[in-house]
Amino acid sequence: MSAISREEVAHLARLSRIAMTDDELDHLSSELGLILESVSKVQAVAAEDIAPTSHAIEMQNVMRPDVVVPSLTTEETLSGAPAREDDRFKVPQILGEE
């Protein structure tokens, strides 16, 4: 199981919110097939009784006191905005027109 169809790549591109040309889809589906074939070797040793590791170093939840500390100003926060309106980020429409 390593072949990945063009339709699957198109679906993944949709999920990832990346527009792709037909050429890109063709190219990626053959490339991903090869990569998946190579990386699927992890399945050979991943026995059921092995616990997965998500972080190499043991992690615990970090809390801090609920105290207000200095943060970015509105101007600083909006400094990189592609578009703004007053003190807000301006974004394209998020709901379809009714």
Binding site: R17, I18, E31, S38, T53, I57
Partner: protein, 489 residues
Amino acid sequence: MSAELASGNVTAVELASAHYDRISAVDSDVHAFLHLDREGALAQAASVDGLRKAGERVHPLAGVPLALKDVLTQKGVPTTCGSKMLEGWRPPYDSTVVTNLKKAGVVILGKTNMDEFAMGSSTENSAYGATRNPWDLSRIPGGSGGGSSAALAAFEAPLAIGTDTGGSIRQPAAVTGTVGVKPTYGSVSRYGLVAFSSSLDQAGPCARTVLDTAMLHEVIAGYDPKDSTSINLPVGKMVEAAKKLDIKGMKVGVVKELAGDGYQAGVTTRFNEALEALVSAGAEIIEVSAPSFEYALAAYYLIAPSEASSNLARFDSMRYGIRIGDDGSRSAEEVMKMTREVGFGKEVKRRIILGTYALSSGYYDAYYGSAQKVRTLIKRDYEAAFTKVDVLVSPTCPTTAFKIGEKSDDPLAMYLNDVCTIPVNLAGIGGMSLPCGLAPEDGLPVGFQIMSPAMKDELMYQVGGVLEAALQSSWGKPLYASAPELAVK
């Protein structure tokens, strides 16, 4: 340079200016820098000079110039991550690494080139063009931190910062004859480091000598409440360890699996000579087996893209970065798709799609889940090895620097570069690369990797310091002094 500054023989402003002159002279060929912050650097240098003149106590690295990988934010200075996506973005805040550098008085000359979002092993994936290896301009300087390593090798900066997710500090150091360290995961803050694979990313110090690297390490490491994965333990004494020059009785493990087929003959030759030097210095060499390392590369190329597909979702063209196609008629989603098509390069798209696949329902257990289990096995291999030896060693990469363009169309061949460096990231431990000579067949630098248990990074410096001293005395000069002269323009 530190001593010259302290004695007053040279000022920080003179030092920064001299490095800018060097950059003007050679960087049109090397292309290590994406952006120079001349004004900010000279102001910082002048302020350090003022403090020294006033007799204030300053850090030994105060006034020493540094090249910063363009994946760390510096307030008001462009930060692109080598991507079109962030073209023109000036972050409104400093990363903790930069805060620590500024506090020590280090002078940040500019931002260095890298593979886009740190994905690559050659710096060819930068949206702003490839960086060239100062040892041979037709070859790659390693990646993803090829700008930082090339800047060091070309004498454009004496110190640099890199980041290492699968080898992006160590592999560039190896192929440029410089020193680079990936510290223990969690020992250097990731605040302000643009995330690629959060459970693997780690910033670290790069320089031309082990001692300089150790000094820089102590400046940037330390607990940071702004990074939830930061380790709240004291930083080890790296400088003291680098100066110790004694490894009598230390046990050094050679990883059996990181050798053999696929390793260039000259790499093996120089690696074995370095082992002999360690034996002469009083270390005991023990062969160690790490059977799961065979699966590390595969696990990495599932875990890193999976985390990347999630991390890079933030580039949605809404709050910062570029925005394409917003003509008033298109929806946010359409604009997002168009922006991400233009903003991301080929390798980044490839990894986002691969990661999305590995995380999607129906495939999660088979791919991402299995890779996490391999991670456990690799950790166990290290734990078992470190009960027998103090540090582990291997070549840093299987080959010397390859030609620009040679592997750019073959992702699997490119990924193989990282076969020796990746296990360190998966286990979260420390890894160093330092030069161990030039391969006889091509005259290019070979890297020697030292791996130490988590939070025992000082052991790498102790062994690295001894090896560097032994090799330099056999060569009669440091390796970087053998680098070819670059044409000055």
